[in-house]
Structures are given as structure tokens and as C-alpha cells.
Amino acid sequence: MLRIQCPWCGERDETEFHYRGDASRTRPSADAGMAAFSAYTYERSNPRGWHQEWWLHVGGCRRLLRLTRDTQSHEIRSVTPAGR
């Protein structure tokens, strides 16, 4: 069970959040083409270790957070609001 330090609500259980995927992916520009959108939608590196990921605090402030989390130890190194 992850405990996530929400910058707005404080430390909360993982069950209050929804995982929203790999935060290292940036949506391609509209004219980037099929290959770029295919990669954005389907290709993931699935690292063992540090990983950037989105978590939406649906059971709280409904803000989107960018976590840096170790996929092996589950340590969370940083939590920042989206867009910062």
C-alpha cells in the first residue's frame, strides 16, 4: 500500500488515488504522425527502478500529481503537481 504525500491534502492512502500511467510520455504535437502517436499510446519502458508516473487524487483534491517512484522498493522520491 503506497502512502502518497499529496501537496494539497497531506499523506493519504493509495486507495484515494487512481494511477494514470507513465508521466515521462508527452503527447505528440497534432502533426507528429501515426508512429509518434502509436509510441505515445502503446510503448512503455517498464523500468525496474525509478519511474515517473501520474496519480490523480480522485478521493481528495482531484489534482493530478507526478510521482517519482521506485518500482522495486516502492519508495517515492518526489511528488509534484502536474504542470510544475
Binding site: 502512502r3 494514470r20 504522425g33 502517436f37 490523480l56 493530478l64 502536474a82 504542470g83
Partner: protein, 982 residues
């Protein structure tokens, strides 16, 4: 109450309170404070069960949760509960228990025949034998195996418990797991410094190893008193930490005592979910067995368990025991028995010399140094123990009435390993110990491999100091308090298995699963070399005891077979739960109606009073039809009112998202596949949204209420997902849009007023708004006063009829609804439920979740023209993949039986008459026609649009039905849309 086995009242038993109980139909007496196991031993019972596979007779081996053999069924007023451990089951008056896995009786078991043919039942036997023919598995093999093997049986007829368990959430600075010397000392120090501490102890009392040494009674009492007085320390006995889930979250199961269960109205268990900043594992060490032939004979018990029974319950597990030991600590049992006046048949110790052996000899006890036991014969109270020298020479036999064994002690590291602790081999204690990162917590005492009570207490205090410093509130050094001395010891000599030439017969490494050392070697020979593979091949370490007393022995046998060091083999990974947990304990009070919350629409009470039957859709309870009468007649009556005059339905469950801001139009253009920025104020538009992979996500109408203000509706089922989808994209992908999203789904009640005469009803209740077709045409929207309430009117239709949706603040829903009913009464207005709503939309060809099923593209459902040509939107690029518009994809069509008397079924496959084994698609929705003759349905059909006009078969093999169908356009009623524009 004394007897040959009960020497004196123990620490925990109350001689003044005898307790009657029944085991296998035999009435017996024990004392309050006994466990079932101690009471059985006090009654001289050594045989308490039959083993899992070979049905060998088994006795009580341990005195705690690590017990592999003494599992019983408990028969209570509410049914039979299997696999309860006699060693932890508190005795209470009237307890009825039965042994398991024996037939017809414990003393004579028919399947003990398995033992005689055991050479044909090796590890992996099931995999190898029950292979072919494949049909036989389900019909013959599995029922046979299930009857012959397995532990206790679940009672399918067990009564319903009103409230057997509850769930509690706990927070602490430090969770101390284990209330032995180390845990108590740590909790006391942390408590004195003002930390919030939870101490969880699986035993019914605190004390751990200090309970087994009278010199520690005063210390223990002092600490327990101090903890009882500490305001911020909570000590929970009978509480087992079941699992460690990371980030300081732990699950713990508290089993209430029989007295507490009475006090709390039948409550039996509490699941405590504990969140702590740091954890201290003072979980102690568990004694392990030695593998030698006959080590499962009833009467063979772990030495530490015998000490527990003697000290805690005053019960002697034998009046002339032999002991087989390899460490000085295990001699404590010998000295305690001697002090209680019990003579010993002899001690067998593989170590040639030791300090403890010297002390034993000084007390005139015979110690066979440098020796092992190579066989045990007999059973019950007449055991003959065959001794051999380490060099293999026979060294005679001993006659004993019990055999107490100890192969050393394994620190209990399972919970720490769940948190990522690594194991290190420690030769000095012949066991693995674990270490945790300080940010998570620590281990202390024998859980860390620090043996000896005084050493453990000091280690616990030191760990507490380290944790306190780590949490930023260091503890000042305390003056040393005098503690009883730990005796000097000679180190343990590792001994896993006795393998002399005469050591023949089964030497068990796992008593619960009947796994022998030979099975482990067989697994290795057959290629299952990894400890995890060996575990799965042999089942070693599975089931209720998780192989606690023999796990390391199995690893050692495997290491020897592989010719590598034990440290290289390691142990199989321990996972939650640490002990069996009843589903009822996990469910807590979330049972029946409380399994999940119900969402009720504002008009729920009205619907109920009107006789609605409800259908759960997601969490919502929606009125299905206003009748208890089965069949389609009431549904069609409601739907026909809509087609012929006017009906009203509650659509409050639709998702409603308020979108405001300068960027609202552009944002919706990005979210939806069609355009909203060009929508005039006061108009609604149907929209579809895609996922980024190009598939349809949801549909609904969006209305522009102002230049920067939209209200979006979503389907009921997707309301939460669509909001989240929009929030995610607004924050992660296009934060440049100045937009605020607000979920207003619960704030607005919404009703659809539908039918050719709906305008008359709407006009009667809506003030300030001209509703003529010209002034307020199809897809118009406006704010208006509805029955005196400020609300909104939308001219949108899902039924295919002239229709209005009226939205009002939820609290005014009953008032407005009643006004609409009153206004419609002269026209015969009918309230209609979800079934009628569905019938109407199917006939009209509108899609819902059955068609928006996650596998359909815009093209599949005929929405291609809605995809905007210019500008970016989610799913735009990938929806252009060739495969998304391939002509042979499943496309939306209508289906109608040729014979109007035949019914359709959802899920029926569409096949061509000449190729019936090839499914071309399936029926997604179907209903008897409201206005059209016979049944009508929607279907997803390969190349469906090209097949319009063709005939196919709809087959439902489940119902043994087949219907001849005509493929038609999905717009079966009023394809020109004349009615909605009327």
C-alpha cells in the same frame, strides 16, 4: 485439579475454574486459561490427528501458531469451522472439537493404507499420474484427490454470523511487532519518550520468552504495569500481524477471547489496518525440527513447546522424556523438567561437548554427546529411541514416553522480508537473519539473531533508541537496570538431517504437507533446484503453518543435494498472510447491503412508493419498471405511453459536468471528436469522445449555456471515468486552457418528458419560455422557471419522440416531478423505467453501453461524419488507422425476425445458413417492438452495412434457439427524425 500430566497450575491456568470440553466425542476437563492443546495433553492425549497425505497418526508438536499437525474442526452453534489450531485455540466451557482427516475414526484410519504404498506416492505424484485421459481429471481424479487429501472441510451450511468481524484503522509512530523481552523493552522506552506506540503480540499474553523463565517474572510484571499506565502505548494481545504492505502499512488480525466475544455480541475478530512511521520487528525466533526417521511419531514434540506447556499450563508432555538437541538454549527444557521432578531418559546431542551438557551431567542426567537419533519406534507413550554416534556406530536405544527435539532457532523474518529485507547467513546461530533500511524500521532481539533474554531486552532498548533518534526525538541514556543473567552458552552445531546407514524410513521436513527429505532430493533430481521450484513441486512450506518449523531444514536438504552452501539456496519468499484468515475477518462489516454503497436518485422514495423494481447500475439504484409483474407487458405499457401520448422518466443518474472558462470551447473540441466551440449559446449538440487509441469512450449531449459555460452530460456508467479522463487531460496534456471542471451530477435532478404530447405538459409547468417548435426547436436549450423552480430546459430526445429534458436542483426534484405528473394526468402520462427507456432507444437505433463497449470505433457505429476534419482531438490520429475503418469490421445494424412471433436474445450469434459454425457478429440489444411489429434488435455484424437487406440466422446454442433474421438499418423507427422535430 492435578493428574499424571497436570503437575501444577501454570502461569496462565486457573485451577479454581475447571472447564468441560469435548474432543472427538469424548468429554474431558481442562482449566480456564488452557489452550485446546494444553488441555488435551493434560488429559494424556498424544494422538490428535492424521496427516494430510499418508494419514499417519500425528500428535501435538508445538505450542503456538507454527503448529503443523494439531488442526481441528470446531463445531459451534453456527456450523463447523475447519483448520483451527489446537495450540492457539483458547479453551472455553462447552467447546466441541474434532480431529481432521481421518475416516472412519482417528485410531483406525482406512487411508493409512497410503502410508504402506507411499513409494508410489512421491512428490509430484499428482502431476505425473493424473495426466491422461484428460476427460478423467474433472470426473474422476479431482473428486478422488479432494476427498483423500486436503485439510479440514468448509461447512457450506455454516450459519450467517450477524457481525463476526470488524475493521479498524490505526495510526502510530512506531508499531512494535512482538511482545517478548525485546518488544516490551522497546515499547517501554518509546512510550516513556511520548511516542505513539502500538505493540501487537500474537500470544494471548505479553511476555514471549520471559514467560518461560521464572527469574523474569518480576521484570515482565514491572514493564507490563508501566506499559499499562503509559497513555500513548497500546498493547494488543492475540493480535497477529498478517502482512507488511510497505509505506508503514500493516494488516493485523486480533482474535477476541471467548469472554470478549460474549461481551461484544458475538464479535470474533478485528482486522486492524495499522499505519506507522517506523516498525520494530521483535518477532522472536521459532524452533525448528530435525529430520530423522520417525520424527513425526506422536509423542515427538519440540523442546521449547514442552517448556511452554510446563510453564504456562503446568502440563508435562511426558514423565520420562528423551531429548534430542543441538544447542545450549534447548537444555532449558531439560532443567525445567528436572526442577519439576521429572526424570529424563537421556539427552542426545551431536556436539561432543557443551557447557549445558556439563551442567546436565552435574545434575546426574545422562548426555550422549557426539550422537544423533537415527530412528524412533513405537508410538504414544512407549517410544524406543535408537541412538548412533556421529561416526555411524550404533549406540544403543533409550526407552522414553516422549521425545523432545530441537534443531535450533530461526529468527522470524517473514514480515521484514516482505518489506524488502535481505537475508544474511549467520554461522554462529546456524540461521538467516535480516536487516531493514532504517527508514522502514528495525529488527531486535532473537528476531535479529540476538539470543538470550537479557541480550534481547538490551537489543530492544537499543533499537528503540535508534528509532527515536531517527524520528528526531532521541532518548536520553537510561541508567542500567539489573537484569537476570543470560547463561554462558556453547554455540549451536548445525544439524538438519540424520543420514546414517541405518536411518531408514520417512524423515519429515514438513509435517503438515507430508514432505520428506527424500521428496526434496527427488525434486532436485528432477530439476526443481530453485527453492521456489522445490516448494511448488513438493508443497513444502505451504498451507497453514507456512513451513515455519521445517522450512530451513528443507532448504538445507536441498543445498546438500545440490552441493552448494545453504546461504546460496536461501528460503522461499514468505508472503502475506502469516496465518490463515477467515474471509469474514477480511470482509468485516462490508457484507450484504454494506458491501458497497448505494447511490439513490433524489426521487428514490417516490419511485419506491410507485412500486418500481430497481436495478443496480454501477452504484446507482435505478427504477427498472413500475411493476412487480414479470414479463414485457408493463414495460410496453410504459413505452407505448411515450410513443402515443407522453411519458416521464428520471435520468438524474446521467453524469453532468459543468465546464467553464475562456478555453472551455477549445477544450471540449480537444476532448470530443466533434466540434463544440462553434455551438451557439442556447443550443445542445450530441457528441462522441474517443480514447487516444481511437476507440469510442462515451457519448452524450453538451449544451452551451453561455459564451464560456457548457454543461456536458455523460452516460450513467461512464460518469466517473469521463470526468477523470477530462481532468487528466486538462492537467497533464493541455494545461494551457483556462478551464474549470465541476462535477454537478449530484446537484441536478433531470427528467425526460417524452412523447407527441410532451409539449403540452412542459408548457403547463415551464414559465418564461416559449416552447413552440419555432421558438424552441429541436436541440434548443434555455434556463427557465419550472414549476416555480429555477432550472434548465433542453429539447433533446433519446426515445425518438418529441421530448424535453428538464433539470432542476436536486432538492426540488419531488416538487417538480409531481407538478409534471399533475400536468400530464389528463393526457395519461406514465412514468417509465429503464426497461422502457431501453426499448424506445433500441427501436430508434440509439446506442448505449452494449454498443459503446470499448471495442467499437466511430466508424463501426456509423459516426464517421462526426469526426472533425480540422484541429486536434484525442484519438484523432489512431482512429485513422486502416484497421479502424476496415470494411469487414463489426458494424452496427438493426435485426428483425422474419417471423414477427419469434423473439431475439442478446448475445445470439449471427451466422449464415450455409456456414453456421462461423460467427459473423452478435445481437447487442433487443426488445419487443413498442410500435414496430415483433422483436427488434441492434447487432454488431461483420461488414454489417453491406449486409443490410440480407437474411441471416440468429442462434443461441445456450437456449437451443434459432431465428431467421433480416438485417436492417439501425434506424428502425422514424429514420427521417420527423418526430423529434415535430
Amino acid at each position: 485439579m492435578r493428574g499424571p500430566h497436570r503437575l501444577a497450575p501454570g502461569l496462565l491456568t486457573d485451577a479454581a475454574r475447571p472447564v468441560g470440553f469435548c474432543f472427538d466425542g469424548q468429554r474431558m476437563r481442562g482449566l480456564a486459561g488452557d489452550t485446546l492443546a494444553s488441555a488435551l495433553l493434560a488429559n494424556g492425549r498424544t494422538l490428535v490427528g492424521r496427516s494430510f497425505k499418508y494419514h499417519r497418526p500425528r500428535g501435538i508438536v508445538t505450542a503456538g501458531p507454527e503448529e503443523p499437525c494439531a488442526l481441528v474442526d470446531v463445531i459451534g452453534a453456527d456450523g463447523r469451522e475447519p483448520n483451527r489450531l489446537a495450540t492457539t485455540l483458547a479453551l472455553h466451557d462447552g467447546l466441541v472439537a474434532e480431529s481432521q482427516n481421518r475416516w472412519p475414526s482417528l485410531r483406525f484410519d482406512a487411508r493409512a493404507f497410503n502410508d504402506l504404498v507411499s513409494r508410489f506416492l512421491p512428490a509430484g505424484f499428482y502431476y505425473k499420474t493424473f495426466m491422461a485421459p484428460s476427460w478423467a481429471w474433472e470426473r474422476v481424479y479431482e473428486p478422488l484427490i479432494r476427498r483423500a487429501a486436503g485439510l479440514g472441510r468448509l461447512d457450506a451450511n455454516a450459519g450467517a454470523h450477524p457481525a463476526p468481524a470488524e475493521t479498524l484503522h490505526e495510526h502510530a509512530d512506531v508499531l512494535v511487532v512482538g511482545g517478548g523481552g525485546a518488544g516490551l523493552a522497546a515499547a517501554q522506552r518509546l512510550g516513556e519518550r511520548g511516542f505513539r506506540v502500538i505493540l501487537a503480540e500474537q500470544d494471548m499474553v505479553l511476555g514471549g520468552g520471559t514467560l518461560l523463565d521464572a527469574r523474569w517474572d518480576a521484570w515482565r510484571q514491572g514493564v507490563c504495569d508501566a506499559l499499562g499506565a503509559a497513555a500513548r502505548v497500546r498493547c494488543l494481545a492475540r493480535t497477529t500481524v498478517l502482512g507488511a504492505y510497505g509505506h508503514g502499512v500493516f494488516g493485523a488480525l486480533q482474535v477476541l477471547s471467548p469472554a470478549e466475544t460474549l461481551q461484544f455480541g458475538g464479535l470474533r475478530e478485528r482486522l486492524r489496518i495499522i499505519r506507522a512511521r517506523r516498525v520494530l520487528f521483535a518477532t522472536g525466533a521459532v524452533e525448528r525440527l530435525i529430520a530423522f526417521p520417525g520424527n513425526d511419531t506422536p509423542g515427538v514434540m519440540l523442546a521449547g513447546a514442552a517448556l511452554s506447556y510446563l510453564r504456562r499450563y503446568g502440563v508435562a508432555a511426558g514423565s520420562r522424556p528423551a531429548l534430542f538437541l543441538n544447542s545450549d538454549q534447548a537444555y532449558d527444557t531439560l532443567f525445567a523438567f528436572a526442577a519439576a521432578g521429572i526424570g529424563c531418559a537421556g539427552v542426545i546431542d551431536p556436539r561432543p561437548q557443551s557447557l549445558a551438557a556439563d551442567r546436565a551431567r552435574a545434575a546426574a542426567i545422562e548426555v550422549h554427546g557426539g550422537s544423533v537419533i537415527e530412528a524412533v519406534r513405537g508410538r504414544g507413550t512407549a517410544l524406543r529411541v535408537q541412538i548412533a554416534r556421529l561416526d555411524g556406530r550404533a549406540a544403543g536405544t533409550l526407552a522414553a514416553d516422549s521425545l523432545l527435539i530441537s534443531g535450533g532457532y530461526c529468527p522470524q523474518t517473514a514480515l521484514a522480508v516482505q518489506l524488502g529485507a535481505t537475508l544474511h547467513w549467520q554461522q554462529s546461530i546456524a540461521a538467516f537473519s535480516a536487516q531493514l533500511p532504517a527508514a522502514i524500521g528495525r529488527l531486535a532481539g532473537s528476531a535479529r539473531g540476538v539470543f538470550g533474554l537479557a541480550a534481547a531486552v538490551l537489543d530492544g532498548a537499543a533499537a528503540a533508541d535508534a528509532i527515536a533518534a531517527d524520528l528526531g526525538r532521541p532518548i536520553a541514556a537510561a541508567g542500567a537496570r539489573p537484569l537476570p543473567d543470560d547463561p554462558q552458552v556453547t554455540p549451536i552445531a548445525a544439524l538438519w538431517e540424520v543420514r546414517t546407514a541405518r536411518a531408514r524410513g520417512k524423515a519429515f521436513v514438513d509435517l503438515q504437507n507430508d514432505v520428506t527429505s527424500a521428496d526434496v532430493r527427488l525434486a532436485q533430481r528432477e530439476g526443481y533446484e530453485h527453492v521456489e521450484h522445490m516448494k511448488r513441486y513438493t508443497t513444502h512450506g505451504m498451507a497453514t503453518d507456512q513451513g515455519r518449523i521445517g522450512g530451513l531444514v528443507g532448504s538445507a536438504v536441498l543445498a546438500q543435494a545440490r552441493g552448494v552452501a545453504l546461504s546460496e539456496v536461501g528460503r522461499s519468499k514468505p508472503r502475506p498472510f502469516a496465518q490463515p484468515v477467515a474471509f469474514a475477518a477480511l470482509a468485516g462489516s462490508e457484507v450484504g447491503q454494506h458491501l458497497k454503497p448505494w447511490r439513490r436518485v433524489p426521487l428514490h422514495d417516490w419511485h419506491q412508493a410507485a412500486g418500481a423494481s430497481f436495478v443496480p447500475t454501477g452504484l446507482w439504484m435505478r427504477p427498472l419498471v413500475y411493476s412487480r409483474q414479470p414479463g414485457w407487458e408493463p414495460v410496453l405499457r410504459e413505452a407505448r405511453a411515450v410513443r402515443r401520448s407522453v411519458g416521464i422518466t428520471d435520468v438524474s443518474t446521467l453524469g453532468k459536468i459543468d465546464v467553464q472558462g475562456p478555453g472551455a470551447g477549445q477544450f471540449l473540441d480537444f476532448i470530443y471528436a466533434n466540434t463544440f466551440s462553434t455551438l451557439p449559446v442556447g443550443r445542445a449538440r450530441y457528441g462522441i469522445m474517443l480514447r487516444e487509441d481511437g476507440m469510442l469512450l462515451d457519448d452524450g449531449t453538451t449544451t452551451r449555456l453561455g459564451p464560456q459555460h457548457f454543461i456536458v452530460t455523460t452516460t450513467t456508467a461512464n460518469a466517473a471515468a469521463v470526468l477523470e479522463h477530462m481532468e487528466f487531460h486538462l492537467q497533464a496534456v493541455c494545461p494551457q486552457f483556462d478551464v474549470v471542471l465541476t462535477d454537478v451530477g449530484d446537484q441536478w435532478a433531470q427528467f425526460a418528458l417524452a412523447g407527441p404530447r410532451s409539449r403540452e405538459v412542459a408548457a403547463a409547468v415551464v414559465a418564461d419560455l416559449e416552447l413552440s417548435n419555432q421558438a424552441f426547436p429541436f436541440m434548443a436549450a434555455a434556463a427557465a422557471i419550472i414549476a416555480g423552480v429555477a432550472g434548465r430546459v433542453f429539447r433533446i430526445s433519446f426515445s425518438g419522440e418529441l421530448a424535453y429534458e428538464l433539470a432542476v436542483p436536486a432538492r426540488h426534484a419531488p416538487l417538480v416531478w409531481q407538478a409534471l405528473l399533475a400536468a400530464g394526468a389528463p393526457l395519461g402520462i406514465e412514468a417509465y423505467g429503464l426497461d422502457a427507456l431501453n426499448s424506445l432507444r433500441i427501436e430508434k437505433g440509439h446506442v448505449t453501453g452494449a454498443e459503446l463497449n470499448g471495442n467499437t470505433s466511430a466508424d463501426d457505429l456509423g459516426f464517421t461524419r462526426m469526426l472533425k476534419r480540422h484541429g486536434d482531438f484525442i484519438g484523432r490520429v489512431l482512429s485513422q488507422r486502416a484497421g479502424m475503418t476496415a470494411p469487414d469490421r463489426l458494424q452496427l445494424v438493426g435485426v428483425r425476425p422474419l417471423d414477427a412471433g419469434q423473439r431475439l436474445r442478446n448475445g445470439s450469434h449471427l451466422v449464415a445458413r450455409e456456414a453456421r459454425s462461423t460467427s459473423l457478429g452478435y445481437v447487442t440489444s433487443s426488445t419487443p417492438g413498442v410500435e414496430l411489429d415483433g422483436w427488434v434488435g441492434l447487432a454488431l455484424l461483420a461488414a454489417g452495412r453491406q449486409r443490410v437487406g440480407q437474411q441471416l440466422l440468429g442462434v443461441s446454442p445456450l437456449h437451443d434457439e434459432q431465428v431467421e433474421l433480416r438485417i436492417v438499418s439501425p434506424h428502425m423507427l422514424d429514420p427521417e427524425n420527423a418526430r423529434v422535430r415535430a
